[in-house]
Symmetry: C2
Subunit: 396 residues, 2 copies
Amino acid sequence: MRDVAIIGAGMIPFGRRDEDTLMDMLAYASLKALDDAGLGDKSVDAVYVGNMGGGMLQRQTAIASSLVDRLNLMPAAAETVENGPASGGSAVKNGLLAVASGYYDYVLVVGGEKMREVTGWRATDFVATMTHPQAEYPYGITLPGMAGMFTRLYMEKYGVTREHLLAISLKNQEMGTLNPYAHVEMALDRGGIFDSPHAIVNNPTSADPLHLYDLCPVSDGAAALILCPLEMAKKLAKPPILIAGFGQATDTQTLQERDDPTDLKAVTLAAQKAFEMAKLKPGDIHVAELHDAFTILEIAESEHVGFFKKGEGGKAAAAGKTRLGGQMPINISGGLKARGHPVGATGVAQVVDIVFQLRHELPKNRQVQKAENGLTVNFGGFGNNVLAFVLRRVQS
Amino acid sequence: MRDVAIIGAGMIPFGRRDEDTLMDMLAYASLKALDDAGLGDKSVDAVYVGNMGGGMLQRQTAIASSLVDRLNLMPAAAETVENGPASGGSAVKNGLLAVASGYYDYVLVVGGEKMREVTGWRATDFVATMTHPQAEYPYGITLPGMAGMFTRLYMEKYGVTREHLLAISLKNQEMGTLNPYAHVEMALDRGGIFDSPHAIVNNPTSADPLHLYDLCPVSDGAAALILCPLEMAKKLAKPPILIAGFGQATDTQTLQERDDPTDLKAVTLAAQKAFEMAKLKPGDIHVAELHDAFTILEIAESEHVGFFKKGEGGKAAAAGKTRLGGQMPINISGGLKARGHPVGATGVAQVVDIVFQLRHELPKNRQVQKAENGLTVNFGGFGNNVLAFVLRRVQS
């Protein structure tokens, strides 16, 4: 396998983008990454698009071919990669392996989703199409419903509390206010005599014990990366970021088939594989983007990847250990909770955010000092298909 | 790049499969390929699913994760690859590059589609979602409509006649009657005093100058392959089939943007790349599966890949040169015209059919004698994203 580096990264602001088509968003993010890579006249050999809902939400298929035309990248190869909310991670993976194989040199990976095409229960139903078609979907189970039941079990087994969950909401939504690409622009507050609209006392139940601010918003957005062999990356102006490790694992589609439904085996395994390939340990990571579609997931994942022992993740978050300046900064971008979760974009956006961190190009209020190694976890289904990437700043 | 071989191939009969879900079909084809590979207890490391319409037709996403669960292949990695009618080819490509990279050893590639979920104009409309979302789809252009206009231009420029097109229909539908996996089970006849229901005189206009029997049917079906490094394949019982060459190219999304709409540049380029990688010439190929979603495409592709000069493909077909025993046997399976075209399955099924040919395991009335090298062309959009594979029987 050739070593593969990231030489370009770009993102457009997530949120409501009523004025843009899905194709517009994919094109804008791609152009930012291409520009960031500074390849000049050099084009890319292949394009991988991470997208889940083009057919269902936009009634549009073969969007990768359409994007190549839009960006005038012909005759570059192109296809769409779909893996539910891990579609972005799967696009990065296939770009990585394609360059690692030696077949392609320069690859564009772009993830995007236009989810606000539908709202309310229709958005929830769209996401629920990833559940089991016989054992789950017909019975009306939704992802928030699953997350609620998972949270209850996790609380019972590991003593996670509502305060622990709120610590995630408060941190991520605060960080979102600092991130120009984030969907959520207002910090939560704890309320008081004159409660603000965003006070946590105005936080209605969504899927007990989860409340509104435990859930990520429904967002539009796109993010993009340019990959190439590390050797070629060394000639460029910006420090290349090595994809030092990659791991992926699947688990049973439904939670009830698992011996212990609180045990996210695919997260553990994907992270282990990524660390093994990178020859690093959890303790070597300086900054991580975890898949906090629900606050409980940031806590559970922080334990399953090995940052904290089981049952310690919630306490660590409440103690500020996962904030900027803490022992293990997590979701400094605001995470899915505040940056937003346009499903096909998320896995790519997580990598983009770590690239920004490892290049040390963020403003002081968001930059993890001396960050050399980063981790991303992109969580598909309810933990039935998980991808982890370990990224490393290459010493020049 | 590591050399990658095909060690397992399987297919289920294409056609109307009302009794099966999409997942059933993907699972059945996968099990046939796994069984064919004879890997024993060895499982696969990764799964690539080629599928276009799971979300739109079955309201089901993340089907690759679901398939891994269904087949109990956890923790194997998995994702779906979508590229319109070339989704199957794109799944094979990503399986190929993943094994070539050295990251995975054993990979399952499976393509499938359950298209008969919708019928009539709804099926045509589903396929039309791959057209340009602003410049084509809103104006009601369909794939048969495009093919009709393309045929008219090709007739004018190269002297292709209705007799040439009928030669393709007659050959492919006759071969379909011999293929147990083909959708179309009845041969066409030229009619007479007592016209049969399948007489070509009972062949109504579909999209002028194309008639009903110039179009592939709307089919359900699935096909699967097992890939592994060539070195590992040599230890197995069946002769390994090397993926000796692969090429892919894109072109403008719409026909009207092309300098010469009859020039299928992406077909030429994809085939050239595949031949170059395989170090073979068109004349070295003994059997080919071309993407005859419309009869004109078999003629046009046979010229663009280099089997015949421009304007000679139709005459060659009418002269029987592309029949079994002819100079260049094409679509001995019956092609899309008779095997059927479940869009996500086709690119995989084409490779499966060539594997059967190169292993010399077909009955005499379908086997190309001493076939050593084969070619497949999987045609996405209207030629805007094309994949070609050159397969080679490895001498033992």
